[in-house]
Symmetry: C2
Subunit: 284 residues, 2 copies
């Protein structure tokens, strides 16, 4: 984006230059360059092909290579009371969701990703605070969980390009986030074992719902549009990829989250803490 300097402005006794970018960049990220006293530079990243990197939210080295060979059918059979509680909690959330969205899988994906990005953030934040409080290493789990949250948020940024939220959907997300964030926060404080198991089962449902999405795409009930630009850069997809390719890699991500969260719960089941077992960083 070309940059037009709006003029110099004296502020706080220090010279500050405010420059405003020439309109919105791709993906809804507005480019306004604020050159301040603090001289904090914007990191300009160039793509392999010499063009400027468009995304501020992820860099070329933070992109994903989807592993489509991951087993989509793996399931944790609930045995203990805690497992069954986690399983039925998730199952009981499924019914109202199915009724609300029916076959609108694009909309469903977008809405559910706003919820899916919560557990990783809550877990990462609580482990961070715990590490500080106890003067203890985290074994990389803070990073692993925050990575998961960021990956889920990128799912949302992708589906946003395909389905636009309506005002009442925005209102719903607002309410659901308020409830889910707090519920998951309390669950994680009370029992990380339960919290990770719940997330594991949520991911199993996510895999199922993306499989249904693919079926609808194949039947032609949902139009197989061109993949959004952000998805092509994030998952390093070929330029001519379609929505179907995007759903495939998103579903693979969900399968990875399922593994990580059931695994985290298993660690707790074995009487260990997460920090006792090095985290699978970069296991997408």
């Amino acid at each position: 984006a070309s940059t037009i300097t709006l003029g110099d402005k004296e502020q706080h006794d220090n010279k500050e230059t405010v420059a405003s970018g020439g309109g919105a960049a791709a993906g809804g990220e507005k480019e306004k360059e604020v050159v301040s006293y603090w001289g904090v530079p914007q990191s300009k990243v160039v793509k392999e092909d010499g063009t400027q990197w468009k995304w501020n939210c992820f860099r070329p080295w933070e992109t994903y290579q989807a592993d489509l060979s991951i087993d989509l059918k793996k399931h944790h059979v609930p045995k203990t009371f805690l497992d069954k509680f986690a399983y039925w909690t998730v199952k009981s959330l499924r019914l109202p969701t199915d009724i609300f969205f029916q076959r609108r899988y694009g909309c469903r994906a977008m809405m559910l990703e706003t919820v899916a990005a919560v557990p990783g953030m809550v877990g990462g934040m609580l482990l961070h605070c715990k590490s500080l409080r106890r003067f203890e290493h985290s074994g990389g789990w803070i990073k692993a969980l925050l990575e998961e949250a960021e990956n889920e948020r990128m799912h949302l940024m992708t589906f946003m390009e395909v389905a636009k939220p309506k005002w009442y959907e925005r209102a719903l997300v607002f309410t659901v986030q308020g409830i889910f964030f707090n519920a998951y926060f309390l669950a994680y404080l009370a029992s990380p074992k339960l919290a990770h198991r719940i997330t594991g089962y949520l991911e199993e449902e996510a895999i199922h719902s993306y499989t249904e999405f693919l079926k609808e795409l194949d039947k032609g009930n949902i139009e197989n549009v061109k993949a959004p630009a952000i998805a092509i850069d994030y998952w390093r997809l070929p330029a001519d990829s379609t929505l179907r390719d995007v759903v495939m890699v998103v579903r693979a991500d969900e399968a990875h989250h399922r593994d990580v969260n059931h695994f985290a719960s298993d660690i707790h089941y074995q009487g260990l803490e997460l920090k006792d077992s090095p985290a699978p960083i970069g296991y997408h």
Copy 2:
């Protein structure tokens, strides 16, 4: 660490192998390999010299190259009421801190880093939730603030190796974190402009306190011991580095945080949101 397989164990109808590492690795990270049904691999990273990478909390590509040329004297002159409120809040916290720690700068550094890692996490988490709720890009600020939190946590992991917390210090950290986390959370919700300004001033105080630390080291009042192994790997310091070298790079980090947080506050002062100005990711 060599790995001793403890035996196979049937669990949840699935084969799980629990293996336990041969004692604690450097830096207090215990290596217990939990091989579960979920087949989540531990990422094994090898250092340039061929030895195994010791740290689970950061990888070779996440290490820092300290920029010691950063201006340590920069200061934001408070002009508005909000700035003055932020300034005097921080200044009033300084007095009890000075009285409590006196000249024990090692201990002071360790204790204060448990607090310093909170603002980045709170800010990052709130921006993450906001991005989800509003279906908006973050301009990279979530990552930038979480990076800051992680850097502060690494300061703690470093000073932990030099000064060991006593039980009443642990109790104090517990209480202070409870108060500070919630206070900063509310401040950030009410006014990110104020919250970032407060952090900016906290960082200015941190620079001052590390400068005093250096003076005591130079006077010989504090012994200039060998740098902890974790610090040598994290900041890529020469193998014969000392505590003085570590304090130098930590102080440079604080100066970078000062810049980023005052800059973030400036963005809000200009009537913009953080997402409108791309974040300085990787600006340490």
